[in-house]
């Protein structure tokens, strides 16, 4: 496939084509073809007008493109871009590294067909299933079984894989024993805690926390409602409190990373900045809960502090929603 030849007839559609090109998985191939067309090949400059003459594309223009895409450019500016593979390469890197909402949506909509490979790499590095929930111990146990067929994926050896064997047992045997012990311990733990833990995502980690296609005040209210699910959780023991704080912290990270499309740029900036501060507070509480020697009284104190923090978070977002 030669992506360059998919250039549309209609001038009005060239913006879309160029944006697709800039974040394409065929970017390098396409740019090398473009460079050939513009008289530039590899490290050789065959047309002095094109390679290093990046002056017409100002830094301000590049910043506009990185934030908002190609559409703010006029035809001449677009043409200058197409004649400057060097600038396109720089823009490609900056677009990915900056990760503006505009480009992330385009990348997400343009991307398809990599699921299998992504799963395979996840399986190698994190074990099967959800990579974010996989522990190193469990991964080692999974490595011991070694049943995954990964024809296109190189097995990347971790430090643990190169450990010497002990007591005449092979590494695989040791890991199998470790996996069996782990399974028994996990079973005992789960039995002891049966009914006390709910694995469903809650709060800001739930699917409904960040609704799409709603007004900004409705969106913020949804974040408030999700935060207040904290009070439905059982945080009576230090272990439960720690688990809930961990979920809250992960949810906060989700808020920091989310595009928040229903919000204006100012609202988004406010929310993300606040979330960073709140996450620090949550993580500090978590460290205290996980510290050695936390007794029931201290757990109660920490739980009260967490309740107070969540109340303040909910109030701050509620106030912001009411300002809209």
């Amino acid at each position: 496939m030669v992506q360059l030849l998919d250039i549309p007839d209609d001038d009005g559609e060239i913006t879309d084509w160029l944006e697709d090109l800039l974040v394409s998985r065929n970017f390098g191939e396409t740019i090398s073809q473009l460079a050939f067309l513009s008289g530039l090949d590899g490290l050789q400059k065959t047309d002095g007008d094109n390679l290093a003459d990046t002056a017409p594309v100002t830094e301000a223009l590049k910043q506009t493109i990185v934030a908002h895409g190609i559409s703010p450019l006029n035809t001449d500016q677009r043409s200058v871009l197409l004649n400057n593979p060097v600038v396109l390469i720089e823009l490609n890197q900056r677009i990915f590294e900056t990760g503006s909402d505009y480009w992330m949506q385009r990348i997400a909509s343009a991307d398809a067909g990599e699921d299998q490979f992504l799963k395979q790499v996840a399986a190698v590095n994190f074990g099967d299933g959800d990579p974010s929930q996989r522990s190193s111990v469990a991964t080692e146990a999974a490595e011991a079984t070694d049943t995954t067929d990964l024809t296109n994926v190189t097995r990347l050896e971790s430090d643990s894989a190169t450990r010497p064997t002990l007591g005449g047992l092979t590494r695989r045997q040791l890991l199998t024993v470790a996996a069996s012990i782990l399974a028994v311990l996990c079973g005992a733990y789960l039995f002891q805690n049966a009914g006390s833990q709910n694995d469903q995502p809650w709060g800001w980690q739930s699917a409904s926390a960040l609704p799409a296609g709603v007004s900004s005040d409705r969106y913020l209210q949804s974040i408030v409602d999700s935060a207040e699910q904290w009070f439905d959780r059982d945080s009576g023991s230090s272990r439960q409190l720690a688990a809930n704080l961990q979920s809250l912290s992960a949810g906060c990270q989700r808020l920091i990373d989310a595009p928040h499309q229903p919000l204006s740029a100012d609202q988004r900036t406010w929310l993300i900045e606040k979330c960073r501060l709140w996450k620090d507070d949550i993580d500090r509480l978590l460290i205290n809960v996980q510290a050695p020697g936390v007794d029931a009284d201290k757990t109660t104190l920490l739980k009260n502090a967490a309740d107070d923090l969540v109340s303040r978070i909910a109030l701050a977002i509620k106030n912001r929603a009411e300002e809209i």
Partner: protein, 170 residues
Amino acid sequence: MVTDRVRQSDARQLVGRWYEQFGRELLVFCKGQMGHDDGQEAFQTMWQKVLNNIEKFDGGNARAWLYRIARNTIYDARKKKKPELNNLATESKVDRSAALLDHFLESEMKQQFQECVERLTPLKQRLLKMRILGESYKSISKKLDIPTGTVGSRFNRVKDEVKNCVAEKS
């Protein structure tokens, strides 16, 4: 020992979350910079580097940190193929560009495209080049002295000619 194990587990979970969040776009980035096969390899290598170096993450911008590792992995892979790239100051944008173009210089797709374009008549080559490099039909009509109404159809025929040629070669 237990603490180390817990810390390792937390780190792996953190990287797992990053993988879910940034993995897909990083794969597109790596393939865009390296091509399909080399891009997949760079992608795998970078995640192993992330896991091995997670303790060096300072808690700042995870996206920036991951892309720095991706970029360095890509440079390392290119240097392996072309040791002379060691001499490049790879943080310079011109050198970065040169390194990318050099990587694709002898790629099959690029060679096929070049050969097919070189087969075209000089007029067709100019038409193809002018249109792809952003000139309007009106401007091309003026410069090549052909009726505006026929520029589009001529260009489409040239595109088809190159596409067919590339398809025959691949």
